[in-house]
């Protein structure tokens, strides 16, 4: 654990006093300190293209009263800098008076270990493995034109000091290993990407030659796309595969269930609490407590222990995801969903691991039931307009379904739908729930945070497929 006050001109006691003095007439707030080390090692075009190590240290001081948030952050942990931030906050909130909120409940449960993944694997062995990945993947076939492989790792220590000297801490490891392959055959080029990761050491994910499976998978996706034909255009039935395609859940309804948009009534879901928003078989949770998963957190960035929050139960809207500010204003409790990208950012309610739970149908039954449609197995990114509810995501591996059978692969196409109505179109929920391999980063208001998604296969009765074949 980092001691943030060594090598500074300010003692912990002084910092606590500044925090208490600044926040005593506010509803909420804290001093958030962060020390993060990160690395990124990239092999590309058969060479080590970059090896970067980053060290970022700073604080963010936040005061909240009523609906107003005042925030000030800096890299410089010093008496003068902290005092300047405190003055800045007080000038924003000078005419407001609040009552400082209750203590935050403590947890002894940890969902990942305090390791430094960057130091746990030597640079030499990382460089060696990247070289092996390159050789192994290129040896698979003469049509491999380009291989890109990377390690990214992070070790982030956070400390939250609240008014009155309450202190909460967490140390968060995060790793990811990624491979991208480009193939060229008969003048046609296609890429395939696959990655794995989470909150454990690199070797946990790479052991037993697991890295080969990552290369194989990237190669397989690119090969499938080489044989793809143009995607159809128009409304049709869509079967989504298990795991990462749950990014649909994340975009289509996850963002719309974040507390801030609902408090502000800008989400298409804000007046639907307790109402049916999905078919009977659909249950969706947002869970920060899965061990070692990318979206898991022991405590959120306000210090609240995370939990498993039921969002939709058997089709009925049950809860929004809340940080402390939105929870207070909506007369509910924080669900441990207050997150920020770093000390440079304000807290927002965010997703952690968002999962649709199992139903009872097999993927085979779903495909059999479709006369004409598509089977989408993997996706790139997605995006949503939470106000109109419209969302999109891009297929990176998909097939046509004709008369109940999987047909040719089709080119990457965008699928578009309407958030509040899409879950009512889910007619079958599969029994094969799977988590994504640990690759998701969610963007909101310019802040990226690691997230996870999970779902079984699902059948959607009607979605618009954005291909080129009319």
């Amino acid at each position: 654990m980092t001691d943030f006050f060594t090598k500074t001109d300010i003692s912990r006691k002084d910092a606590e006093n500044i925090v208490s003095d600044t926040l005593n007439k506010c509803d909420d707030g804290e001093l958030y300190l962060e020390n993060s080390k990160s690395e990124s090692i990239l092999l590309d075009d058969s060479k080590i293209k970059s090896s970067n190590y980053s060290s970022d240290l700073g604080y963010g001081l936040r005061a909240v009263t009523g609906e107003v948030v005042a925030y000030s952050h800096s890299n410089e942990i010093s008496k003068s800098s902290l005092k300047q931030s405190a003055d800045n906050l007080q000038s924003t909130l000078k005419s407001k008076k609040g009552t400082y909120n209750n203590k935050i409940s403590k947890t002894n449960e940890k969902f990942y270990n305090d390791i430094n993944p960057i130091e746990e694997k030597s640079l030499n062995s990382k460089l060696e493995l990247l070289k092996e990945v390159n050789n192994y993947t290129r040896a698979k076939s003469g049509i491999v034109q380009q291989v890109t492989a990377s390690f990214t790792g992070e070790h982030k220590s956070v400390e939250i000091i609240r008014s009155g000297g309450e202190v909460l801490t967490d140390v968060r490891p995060l790793t990811r290993f990624n491979v991208s392959v480009m193939l060229e055959k008969n003048g046609k080029k296609e890429t395939g990407v696959y990655g794995i990761g989470g909150r454990q050491s690199y070797d946990e994910y790479l052991k037993e030659d697991n890295w080969k499976k990552v290369c194989d998978e990237a190669f397989r996706i690119a090969s499938v796309n080489l044989d793809s034909k143009p995607a159809p255009a128009g409304e049709m039935k869509v079967v989504l595969g298990p795991g990462w395609p749950a990014i649909l859940i994340h975009e289509a309804i996850g963002h719309g269930l974040e507390g801030d948009f609902n408090r502000k009534k800008t989400s298409a879901f804000h007046d639907l609490m307790g109402q049916r928003v999905a078919s009977e078989g659909v249950t969706i949770v947002d869970d920060g407590t899965l061990h070692n998963k990318r979206g898991s957190l022991t405590i959120d960035d306000e210090g609240t222990p995370t939990e498993k929050t039921v969002l939709i139960e058997n089709g009925i809207l049950k809860n929004f995801m809340q940080d402390r500010l939105n929870a207070r204003l909506m007369n509910t409790r924080s669900t441990g969903s207050g997150r920020r990208e770093s000390y440079k950012h304000v807290v927002l309610p965010r997703m952690r691991n968002t999962m649709m739970l199992n139903g009872k149908y097999s993927q085979e039954e779903m495909i059999k039931s479709v006369d004409k449609g598509i089977f989408a197995v993997s996706f790139g990114g997605g995006q949503v307009d939470i106000t109109s509810g419209k969302f999109v995501f891009n297929c990176t591996e998909a097939y046509e379904i004709i008369n109940g059978k999987i047909g040719s692969p089709i080119k990457g196409a965008t699928l578009i739908g309407d958030g509040p109505s899409i879950l009512k179109e889910v007619s079958l929920v599969g029994n094969n729930m799977m988590l994504d391999p640990g690759i998701g980063t969610c963007g909101k208001a310019g802040q990226g945070v690691p997230v996870g998604v999970a779902q079984p296969s699902i059948l959607i009765d009607k979605m618009t497929v954005g291909g080129t074949q009319l």
Binding site: K49, N52, Y53, N75, N88
Partner: protein
Amino acid sequence: MVKDQDYLKKTASFCVDLGKKLGATDVTAVVMNSISETVNFRNKKLDESDRSDSLAVSLETYIGKKKSSITSSNLNEDNIKTLIERCIETTKITPEDEFNSLPDKDLLATKIIDLNLYDDDHISNEEKIEYLKEVEEAAFEKKEIINTETSFSESKSNFILASSDGFLNGHKSSSFSASCVTVAKNANNKMERDYEFTSTCHLHDMLKPDQIGVIAAKKTIQKLNPRKIESEKISVIFDRRISKGILSVFASAISASSIARGTSFLKDKINEDVFSSSINIFDKPNIIKGLGSRYFDSEGVKMEELKLVEQGVLKQYLVDTYNGKKLNLKSNGRSGGTTNLYFEKGSISYKDLLKLNTRTLYITETIGHGSNLVTGDYSVGATGFMVENGIFKHPVSEITIAGNFKDIFKNITLADDLEFKYSTNAPTMLIEGMVVAGK
């Protein structure tokens, strides 16, 4: 106050000298400081104030053809020393790459002509609040508007780039921006959202607050009651908000790194027709107060105006030192990308462009990341309006538009309404023959 040049020069030189002393054959360092103050307003009330002060150094060390890098926001001398030591240890075990090198000395920028990129004016948070109040009042003039979120941000930055080749230069810049996002509701409680913004180098060049509020409200209300349309092949017009996106795709596809890696659909297209013959594309680094203007690129290489596309023919790539060496090309000062990139304006008026076809789909917003630079395939979600005989008929949503950039580029007609509102700018753009997927 943002840190001055002397402080940044001292720190950058310290890093370069220390790197050399610790065994690097070459070192580059960038030290930058940025201070910004933002005020957010919502429904005529203060929502958030945010003050940001960031200081960071990023450093690259070379040992012959080996290279490694570090970045840090902790400029404590002991910490810097530890990090540079680490960087050099890493450099030693990183494999050689024959193309690694500092830029050619004769390409480094020497003459700096003042482009007026820094405005010392300061606007207090109280004044920002006054401005945002006016924005929101103008937006709330319309009864359909039920929610407004506005933001005013002022930012001042300064940086120095130093290299062991003796390059030591940098400059201050400023940015002032304000935005307004409005939500409108129809009789059936269905909502739509839209926005307007202004972003400038100098405070006095910003739009007047009521202009922003009025435009945001108008654009939002226009979107109410959208319909989904049938799937069809149809001519599409891109509003200026998104026509510039076509240029961004083009810029990524002609970056020397995509070309050298062979992952661009524009590889080996130099001196070939890529666009229709009426199209010219420029990248101009030296526009006074330009949002993309720069004195030199991120390696210190001088920048000149580039004519990237001339009468539809691709003339050059965007070249940095490393990928230039790979491609056997000299850097043209585009490490770090384009500057003020724009299409030369077309010859037809906006009104006439709307009337060129009897039915046109006018797109105001796209969502999703549906541009594939390897294949040129394009498929994104879209919202906009149906235009018939030059008249806006009704809003359209929940559709996608798709095509391939190789075809799209050849079927572009540009209006004569180019304006410089972003760093990358394009006039209103007609694209023939896109496929729309709807019902």
